[in-house]
Symmetry: C2
Subunit: 113 residues, 2 copies
Amino acid sequence: MQEIQVENRVWIQKNGKPFLGSGRISLLEEINKYGSISKAATHLKMSYKRAWELVESMNSVAETPLVIKETGGKNGGGSNLTEKGKLIINQFRKLEEKSRIYLADEIKKCCIS
Amino acid sequence: MQEIQVENRVWIQKNGKPFLGSGRISLLEEINKYGSISKAATHLKMSYKRAWELVESMNSVAETPLVIKETGGKNGGGSNLTEKGKLIINQFRKLEEKSRIYLADEIKKCCIS
């Protein structure tokens, strides 16, 4: 049996500037998990500088920040997601999933073989 | 006014092998236009070797060939698309377009901002 698989990548721009994509969302997910940009970067095999730049870019483009730096406290601070940041992960992953389902349905109909 | 744009890339695998993507379809479109893999490659700033490999890959994965080599004739041969090749360009571009429209609609609904 011949099996057709369709793949797709989604990314979002805002006012012509890069805003969200699968890689940026993965970074938000890791920051949410570890409470630290540095640990998230290590986990994604990304430099801290690069991770920091991506966070800055998302924060500056979003209506309200997605990541905030928490200073002080017993762990000496760290970074965490705002409610908006958590919401956007959810919205983006759902959009990807819906798009995947849509394309899988379409490819069955359109008979590419 | 804040403007959200969604972009996406679609590609298709068959039995786990790369089959079609926007770049491969552009190559088919150029071959259709120029009747020559070599001219299509030049136009796409791609080496002839690379273009030839992509055509071979698509031909071997498709049910029937998408590109055929025409030998002889007053122009000393060239390459042309089969009916199947022309059909697949159309199907793929439609799939991309539908997916674009779907995502543009979804992004309006899902309120990423």
